[in-house]
C-alpha cells in the first residue's frame, strides 16, 4: 500500500491538495507578516480566522453568493482586528493577553450565534462551495497543470498575494515605514509620521487577510460551519511566519511544507494505510514544535516585536 503513494497520479493529487490546503494559512500568514513587521504580535489570528470562517459561511448562506460571503469574512476580520488594534496600540494592553481574549471571544460568539440561529444541531444548512476554476491552456500542461492551474480562485489569489506583499514591503514607501516601525519606531516618530496610524493599517491588513483565510475554510472547502473549526490553523500561521523568517517568499515555502504534510496524511488515510488517524492529525502540531526548535538559521525577528511603542 505504501507503494501506492509513489504513483504519478497520487503524487499529483497530493501536490495539488497541498497547494489547496495552503490557501487559508497562506493568506493569514502573509497578513500576520505585515503586522509583525510593524512590531505587532497578533495572537488573535485563530479567532479572526474563526470569525472569517463563520461570517463567510453565514454570508454565503444568506445571499447565495460566495463573493458576498468572502466580503463578510473580510469585514469580520477587519472588525476583530480594529478591536485588537484599539486595545494594543491605543490602550497599550499586553499583546498576548489581548490576542487570547479575542480568540475566546470569537469562539464563544460564533458558537452562540450558530446555536441561536440554528437550534437543531443536526439541521445546520450547508452552502454550495466554490468549484475549481482551471486556467485555460495552462491547466492542460501534463502534471504541472493539474497541480498549479486547476485550483480555486482563492488559491490563485493567495499565491499572487505573495509577490504583492513582497512588492509592498520592499518597494513601497509605506512598506518601508512599516518595516522601520518594527525596528526603530522612534526614527519615524521624530520625522513627524504617526507610528500608531501605520500600525493600525498593518494590523487591519492582517485582520482582513485572516478573515479571508478563514473564509477559505468554509466558502472554498466545506459546506458546514462547525464550532472551533479553525482547529489551530491560526496558530500554525504564526509558526509559519517565524519559520519563514519574516520574509514573504520563505513564508510561502513554510506554508507549503506544512500543507504538504497535511495533504500527505489525507492521502495516507485515503489509500487505506492503517495508521491511527490521531497520529496523522497531530503531525502538523509536532512539526510546528520541531520547526521552532530548529529555526536558528531563519531570519531575525523585528526588534520591537510584541512591545508597544510609547513616547518618552
Amino acid at each position: 500500500m505504501w507503494t501506492d503513494l509513489l504513483e504519478a497520479g497520487i503524487i499529483v493529487s497530493v501536490l495539488a491538495a497541498a497547494i489547496r490546503i495552503a490557501t487559508p494559512i497562506l493568506f493569514t500568514a502573509l497578513g500576520e507578516l505585515v503586522a509583525e513587521r510593524a512590531g505587532i504580535y497578533n495572537m488573535g489570528l485563530e479567532g479572526m480566522m474563526l470569525m472569517g470562517a463563520f461570517a463567510g459561511w453565514l454570508g454565503t448562506y444568506h445571499s447565495g453568493s460566495a463573493l458576498v460571503g468572502i466580503g463578510a469574512a473580510v469585514l469580520a476580520g477587519l472588525v476583530m482586528s480594529l478591536l485588537f488594534a484599539f486595545m494594543v496600540i491605543t490602550l497599550q494592553i499586553e499583546q498576548i493577553v489581548t490576542g487570547l481574549a479575542l480568540n475566546l471571544l470569537a469562539s464563544g460568539l460564533s458558537t452562540f450565534w450558530l446555536r441561536s440561529a440554528f437550534s437543531d444541531v443536526n439541521k445546520v444548512p450547508g452552502i454550495s462551495i466554490l468549484q475549481n476554476a482551471p486556467i485555460p491552456l495552462l491547466a492542460d500542461i501534463p502534471y504541472l497543470g493539474a497541480v498549479l492551474f486547476d485550483q480555486r480562485v482563492v488559491t490563485y489569489a493567495a499565491l499572487l498575494a505573495v509577490p504583492a506583499v513582497w512588492l509592498f514591503l520592499y518597494r513601497s514607501r509605506l512598506g518601508l515605514e512599516i518595516r522601520c516601525i518594527g525596528e526603530n519606531p522612534k526614527a519615524l516618530d521624530i520625522k513627524g509620521h504617526s507610528v500608531a496610524l501605520r500600525q493600525y493599517a498593518a494590523v487591519l491588513f492582517g485582520g482582513a487577510m485572516a478573515g479571508l483565510g478563514g473564509a477559505c475554510l468554509t466558502v472554498a472547502a466545506t459546506a458546514h460551519f462547525v464550532p472551533d473549526m479553525v482547529n489551530g490553523r491560526g496558530w500554525l500561521a504564526l509558526v509559519i511566519v517565524i519559520a519563514g523568517g519574516w520574509s514573504p517568499g520563505r513564508v510561502l515555502a513554510a506554508a507549503l511544507i506544512f500543507s504538504f504534510l497535511d495533504a500527505l496524511q489525507l492521502q495516507i488515510q485515503g489509500v487505506g494505510i492503517q495508521i491511527p488517524y490521531q497520529l496523522l492529525l497531530a503531525m502538523p502540531y509536532v512539526a510546528a514544535i520541531l520547526a521552532l526548535m530548529l529555526r536558528r538559521k531563519a531570519g531575525r525577528a523585528p526588534t520591537m516585536l510584541g512591545m508597544s511603542y510609547r513616547r518618552e
Partner: protein, 361 residues
C-alpha cells in the same frame, strides 16, 4: 490628541494606580458585560430579565445549585491558579488546557495500577499522579522554551492539541477503552477511588476544599518564599534576576512544572470527583477559561478564587437558562470573553487620567 489639547485638556499616564481605579474598572467591566449579555439575550429572542433570573436561580437557587456551582468552580479555580502563577513570572503558559488532560491521564494510569486498593491509598495516588502528570507536561513546554528558545505560547498551544489527540488515541483503540463501549471513554472508576462527597445529596467533593487550600498555599509561596520572590522578580525584570545569579532556565522549568501540576490536579478532580470516568469532552475548555479567571483575578491567588467562583456560577446557571428561555448555553463562553474584554479595556483606561493643561503648567 491635538483636538483635545486645543480644548485645554490632555490625557496622561497616572504615576500609580489607586484601588479606586481597580474597583471602578471592575464595576464598569461588570456593567458593560451585563449590558452586552442583555443584547445577546435579545438577539437570541429571549427576555433578558427572565434569562438573568434563570441564570441566578440555576447557580444559587438551592443548596444543591450552590453545591454544583462550587463543583463547577473547582477546576476553574485550579486552572486559574496555574495560569496566574506562570503569568506572574511573565511566562505565558497557555497550556493549562493540555496540562489538565495530562494530569487526568497520569492520575488514571497510576490509579489503574493499584486497581481496587483501599480508599486511603487511592486519594494520595490520584493526587500525586495528577500533580506529576501535569508537572511533566508543563515542564516539557518549559524545557522547549529554556533549552530551545521556542516561544512558550506557541509551544503550549501546540502541546494542547497534541495531548487531546493522544487521549483520543488511547481511548479509541487503546488499552483504556471501555470494554464493549461505543463512546471514547474509559470504564467507571472503582467506588474506592471516587473522591469523598462533603455534603450529602450534593455532588460537592473533597476537591473543592483542596483547591481552596492550594490557593492559600500559593498565596504564601508567592509572597513569603524565595521561590515566590523569584517568580515575581522574573515578572518585572528577568535580566536583573539573572545578574543576581538566578539561573533563568531552571526558574522557567520550575514555574512551568508548578503551573502544570496545579492544572493537572483539576483534571484528576474532574475524573474522580465528577465524571467518575476519563473522557475528553468534559476536560476541554477548562484551561482556556482559567486564563480569563487568572487575568480577572489580577494574578493574585485570593482574587482568582473569587473569579473562579463567579465563573463556576455562570457555567452552572447556564443549564437552567437554556431550559427556561431557550438561550443556548454556549452564550456563557461569549459572556466570559466579553467580561474579560471589558475588564482589560477598563483597566487599561484607568491608567490614564484627564487633566486640564492649565493645572499642569
Amino acid at each position: 490628541m491635538t483636538l483635545l489639547a486645543w480644548s485645554g485638556w490632555r490625557i496622561e499616564r497616572r504615576s500609580g494606580r489607586s484601588s479606586f481605579a481597580l474597583v471602578s474598572a471592575l464595576l464598569s467591566a461588570g456593567a458593560g458585560a451585563v449590558l452586552c449579555c442583555a443584547l445577546l439575550f435579545l438577539a437570541a429572542g429571549a427576555d433578558p430579565i427572565a434569562a438573568f433570573a434563570a441564570l441566578a436561580k440555576g447557580s444559587f437557587g438551592s443548596t444543591r445549585a450552590i453545591a454544583d456551582t462550587l463543583v463547577r468552580a473547582t477546576p476553574l479555580i485550579l486552572t486559574g491558579l496555574a495560569t496566574a502563577i506562570a503569568f506572574r513570572a511573565r511566562l505565558w503558559n497557555i497550556g493549562a488546557e493540555g496540562q489538565v488532560f495530562a494530569g487526568a491521564m497520569f492520575a488514571f494510569w497510576c490509579q489503574s495500577a493499584i486497581g481496587a486498593a483501599p480508599a486511603y491509598l487511592q486519594i494520595p495516588v490520584i493526587v500525586l499522579g495528577s500533580l506529576c502528570g501535569g508537572a511533566l507536561f508543563g515542564a516539557l513546554a518549559g524545557a522547549l522554551k529554556a533549552r530551545f528558545q521556542v516561544d512558550e505560547v506557541i509551544a503550549t498551544v501546540m502541546l494542547n492539541y497534541i495531548i487531546i489527540y493522544a487521549l483520543s488515541l488511547l481511548l479509541q483503540q487503546g488499552p483504556w477503552t471501555e470494554p464493549g463501549g461505543f463512546f471514547e471513554q474509559t470504564a467507571m472508576v472503582p467506588d474506592q477511588a471516587k473522591l469523598p462527597i462533603l455534603i450529602e445529596k450534593t455532588r460537592l467533593h473533597l476537591g473543592f476544599v483542596l483547591a481552596l487550600v492550594l490557593a492559600a498555599i500559593l498565596h504564601v509561596v508567592l509572597h513569603h518564599s524565595p521561590l515566590g520572590y523569584e517568580i515575581r522578580a522574573a515578572g518585572s525584570n528577568l535580566r536583573a534576576l539573572q545578574v543576581q545569579g538566578v539561573h533563568a532556565g531552571r526558574l522557567i522549568l520550575v514555574v512551568f512544572a508548578l503551573s502544570g501540576a496545579i492544572a493537572g490536579l483539576a483534571g484528576a478532580f474532574e475524573v474522580y470527583g465528577v465524571q467518575y470516568r476519563l473522557k475528553s469532552g468534559t476536560l476541554g475548555g477548562l484551561g482556556y477559561t482559567g486564563i480569563i479567571i487568572a487575568i480577572l483575578g489580577q494574578l493574585s491567588p485570593r482574587a482568582v478564587v473569587i473569579a473562579g467562583l463567579l465563573f463556576g456560577a455562570l457555567l452552572n446557571g447556564s443549564t437552567l437558562m437554556q431550559i427556561r428561555t431557550g438561550v443556548p448555553s454556549a452564550l456563557i463562553y461569549a459572556i466570559e470573553a466579553i467580561i474579560l474584554m471589558f475588564f482589560l479595556i477598563a483597566w487599561a483606561i484607568s491608567q490614564f487620567r484627564l487633566r486640564r493643561l492649565r493645572d499642569v503648567d
